[in-house]
């Protein structure tokens, strides 16, 4: 098993954050979204394990992007 910190520090792994309950609520309300509409991410995903996210958590992923410089993506742990 790789050390979780090693994974998170890797250059190809984008920044993953767990959104707090209030953040999630606000985000869903502002964008009129439901949790079921989000793309999923496995509970078994190494990064998800490393940041200790649980089933149902909404993960905010900030990636480098060729077109936009930086792009934000959201996935829900299943």
């Amino acid at each position: 098993m790789l050390d979780s910190n090693v994974i998170l520090e890797h250059i190809l792994v984008p920044k993953h954050e767990i959104l707090s309950k209030t953040q999630v609520e606000k985000f869903l309300k502002e964008n009129k979204l439901e949790e079921s509409q989000f793309p999923g991410i496995s509970e078994e995903d190494p990064v998800i394990k490393a940041i200790k996210a649980k089933k149902g958590d909404l993960i905010k992923i900030t990636r480098d992007s060729i077109t936009a410089g930086e792009s934000v993506y959201y996935r829900i742990v299943y």
Partner: protein, 874 residues
């Protein structure tokens, strides 16, 4: 009409059981014949009136309806002896092997059966478990329930079974299948309620309705039966013979022979392409098209009839170019215009016009008149006056296609949204669709025999929508790159150069002749004495308020740009719609100028520019004259010698490298072997040599050399093409390496093994004009073939990938909030393209918000690497 809508909840498949076959049968068929001498269907025959009617005037004996309204009804044949159904051979084979020959139980020990049964009552078996059951049962040598020894079952393809040495007759097999208890079948993945295995051995054969296999009457009055009917006749005949022989007490051997024959006929009735069985043939020797053949393959019911829909109001023919029509137009041949129609609803305003169409006896005619009750009447010589008389508001007149009608034009493969665009009809003589040469690009069309499809829009809504969304002039900018895709290319670019280069001037007469092509009737004031400069004529094509400055393709990238005083005339300056400076070339006709016209002045203005530029520039080319001959590739003796010297020098340097390598003095590049290093270095030398030779040749050419003009200006060809024609063809490669194949350590027999000199490994030092020596020619062919094969493979592969991608992405929609969602409203991207920018609306460095259409400040946008155009042609 009231309609009942219901949703399909599920679909079930099972085996048709003989009881149902008999129940749904209207009549038992016994006579192997169809019609009697009078042409009347024989009762009890294959065209019995209970099976539905296919002759006009007769009534169905089952439902009483007449020809078209009777849907047809099934009959059946009672088979004297059971026969196997080819489609279930696999299932029967598996069941024979997994069940006991005497008690019919599944060959698994009782405890195992119990555990599996428990799983089944609670849920479903996994795939692995199912495979496991079958594999274990097949291995059992003895029945765990009745201790009977199990003989090995053999399937002699395609339809005979043996148990040990003994033949298993279909009746034996049926008995065996009957023995298998329902509860054991469930473990084998068979639902006994819907598919008892013995139903796979037929005792009764359904006879499809007469409507499924209509007989046709030939011109001679002779009747010709459908292939299925022929097959059913065969089955009935053998069935009867078998019955007669059995009742006459014929020997078992003869009965079995006939039985096998019946089996053959029933098998080929279902599928006439079973491997191992000779296909049943028609008298003419043509194999019969039986049930499976009706459904299978490209010409089968699925691909041909269900997936392959054909449309009305469409036409297809060869395309050819016409630079004199507008890019928005499509030239439609008159014969096609006469066939295609546009429906026009009669109002008080168009009544007279529509009446005129009906009255006309030639070209703009009306083909049909449709009354409000839906009755459609063809306009003929006889009823013309009558139709005019009764024409009222609300009637629809289908008139022939005429100039200005709106159509869709399409070329396959339709990979793009711009593979199908809206055009305006222009009826022309001839037999081909005429297309403006600049719209070849989006369709990827050329005129070497390409055909295209045309669809006539039938409703006002469709017309409005197509005109608003799909009109050619609105597609000038590619949604992929944000730069023009419909643009002046090839000859137009050459024409631009010829017209706008310095010192070109025309007399008033010629200038008028050229400008009238662009429909310009007011002559500008002559600027060269009483003559008109080319730049002045070109300016007439531009909107009067246009101001623009940019560097053209001819720009030499001087250290310090002298702008308007550019010695190469490569600095284009347009002031108040006048071309003051610079030569019009690729950059103008394909890039900045066209782009600016489209964005600042709108699609209409850009279209006008393209239409007019095409005409004027082609007129210029024709007036001045522009041609290429072999002579234009000629270089002087001195230049030739210079190039030869360069190649000799390269040879020498290569030999030195080889020597260095052989002596082991070479230093290898990190990550490469010594040999690879040597190859790299040699390739570099040869590549460099070709480049230098090419440049030397290019420098030598006159500025007016047409080949050089074309490549410099960006019309066609590159410096590489010039090099290959005039200087040297250069290194040929297979798999990205210098050539080495076919022989051991050498490329062709005459070379010494291990010779790695330049000639021995595919360097072609001759030019195409000089001609290649045989070895060079062969190397060139090798490289050429690889390129050709690769191209074929690449297009096939990328085409398939593209299809898969489009299938996966076709339902995705960019929503108002700039998210990309699928049809179930699931989010795929939180912002379209991660930046929410519409490339089609972007111009230069400024980005445009997709949905709002708002320009972003340059600083809001990160430096992007989006490639301006890429290589679209390849």
């Amino acid at each position: 009409m009231e309609t009942i809508t219901k949703k399909v909840a599920s679909v079930e498949f099972g085996i048709l059981n003989p009881e149902i076959i008999r129940k749904m049968s209207q009549i038992r068929i016994v006579i192997p014949d169809t019609y009697d001498e009078d042409g009347y269907p024989i009762e009890g025959g294959l065209m019995d009136l209970h099976l539905g009617v296919i002759d006009p005037g007769l009534r169905c004996k089952s439902c009483g309806a007449r020809m078209v309204s009777c849907p047809g009804h099934f009959g059946h044949i009672e088979l004297v002896r059971p026969v196997l159904h080819v489609g279930y051979i696999k299932m029967i084979y598996s069941l024979l092997k997994t069940t006991c020959s005497s008690c019919g139980r599944l060959l698994l020990p009782p405890n195992k059966l119990q555990t599996y049964k428990k799983i089944i009552t609670e849920g479903e078996l996994t795939d692995d478990q199912e495979i496991d059951i079958i594999a274990k049962a097949k291995k059992a040598g003895k029945c765990p329930h009745c201790d009977k020894k199990q003989e090995k079952i053999k399937l002699v393809k395609p339809i005979t079974f043996y148990e040990g040495e003994k033949r298993l007759l279909p009746s034996d097999i049926r008995r065996r299948m009957e023995l298998i208890p329902d509860k054991d079948l469930a473990l084998l993945g068979i639902d006994p309620k819907k598919a008892r295995p013995e139903w796979g051995v037929l005792t009764a054969l359904p006879v499809p309705p007469a409507t499924t296999r209509p007989s046709i009457t030939l011109e001679t009055g002779e009747r010709s039966e459908d292939d299925l009917t022929h097959k059913l006749v065969d089955i009935l005949r053998i069935n009867q013979r078998l019955r007669d022989n059995i009742s006459a007490g014929a020997p078992q051997l003869i009965i079995e022979d006939l039985w096998d024959l019946l089996q053959y006929h029933v098998t080929t009735y279902f599928n006439n392409e079973v491997s191992g069985i000779p296909p049943a043939r028609h008298r003419s020797g043509r194999p019969l098209k039986t049930l499976a053949q009706r459904l299978k393959g490209k010409e089968g019911r699925f691909r041909y009839n269900l997936s392959g829909k054909r449309v009305n109001f469409s036409a297809r023919t060869v395309i050819s170019p016409d630079p004199n029509i507008s890019i928005n137009e499509v030239g439609v041949p008159k014969p096609i215009a006469k066939e295609l129609t546009v429906p026009e609803k009669t109002t008080t305003w168009n009544m007279d016009r529509l009446k005129q169409y009906i009255r006309n006896t030639e070209y703009p005619m009306a083909n049909y008149v449709i009354r409000p009750d839906g009755r459609r009447k063809k306009v003929t010589e006889l009823n013309r006056e009558e139709l005019i008389e009764e024409l009222e508001v609300g009637f629809v007149v289908e008139r022939q296609l005429k100039n200005g009608d709106i159509v869709l034009f399409n070329r396959q493969p339709s990979l793009h949204r711009i593979s199908m665009m809206c055009h305006i009809v222009k009826v022309l003589p001839g037999k081909t669709f005429r297309l403006h040469p600049t719209v070849c690009k989006p369709y990827n069309a050329d005129f070497d025999g390409d055909e295209m499809n045309l669809h006539v829009l039938q409703t006002e809504e469709a017309k409005a929508e197509a005109l608003a969304l799909m009109l050619v002039q609105d597609q000038i900018i590619s949604p992929r790159f944000g730069s023009p895709i419909i643009k002046g290319d090839e000859d137009l670019v050459s024409g631009g150069f010829l017209l706008t280069r310095k010192g070109v001037a025309f007399s008033k007469q010629i200038a008028e002749k050229m400008l009238i092509k662009a429909d310009i009737k007011k002559m500008p004031k002559p600027d060269q004495g009483d003559k008109y400069s080319g730049k002045l004529l070109f300016s007439a094509l531009l909107p009067p308020s246009l101001n623009l400055e940019y560097k053209s393709k001819l720009c030499q990238n001087c250290k310090e740009c002298k702008k308007a005083k550019c010695p190469h005339d490569a600095y284009v300056k347009i002031k108040k719609g006048k071309l003051v400076n610079g030569i019009i070339d690729k950059v103008s006709l394909q890039g900045i100028l066209l782009d600016t016209l489209f964005r600042e002045y709108g699609p209409e203005e850009a279209r006008k520019f393209l239409d007019n530029a095409t005409r004027v520039l082609l007129a210029t080319t024709m007036h001045i004259g522009f041609s290429v001959s072999v002579e234009d590739t000629m270089i002087t003796k001195e230049t030739h010698a210079e190039i030869e010297y360069m190649i000799n020098d390269a040879r020498q340097r290569t030999n030195e490298l080889i020597k260095e390598y052989e002596e082991g003095k070479m230093k290898h590049i990190p990550g490469k072997t010594m040999k690879e290093t040597l190859e790299d270095k040699i390739m570099a030398i040869l590549g460099e040599t070709r480049m230098n030779a090419g440049n030397t040749a290019a420098e030598h050419f006159d500025i007016a050399n047409p080949i050089m003009i074309m490549s410099r200006v960006g019309a066609r060809g590159s410096i590489l093409n010039v090099t290959q024609m005039s200087a040297t063809v250069g290194q040929q490669a297979v798999r990205g390496r210098r050539i080495l194949r076919g022989y051991r350590h050498k490329s062709l027999p005459q070379f010494k093994e291990g010779n790695i000199g330049i000639e021995a490994r595919g360097f072609v030092s001759s030019s195409l004009r000089d001609g290649l020596i045989p070895t060079e020619y062969f190397f060139h062919a090798m490289g050429g073939r690889e390129a050709l094969v690769d191209k074929g493979i690449r297009t096939a592969k990328s085409g398939y990938m593209q299809r898969r991608l489009i299938n996966a992405l076709q339902d995705l929609v960019v929503q108002k909030d700039e998210t990309v969602r699928d049809s179930a409203n699931n989010i795929v991207q939180f912002k379209y393209g991660e930046d929410g920018i519409d490339p089609m609306k972007c111009h230069g460095d400024s980005a445009v918000r997709l949905q709002t259409g708002v320009y972003l400040e340059d600083k809001d946008r990160d430096e992007t690497t989006a490639d301006e155009e890429g290589d679209y042609d390849d």
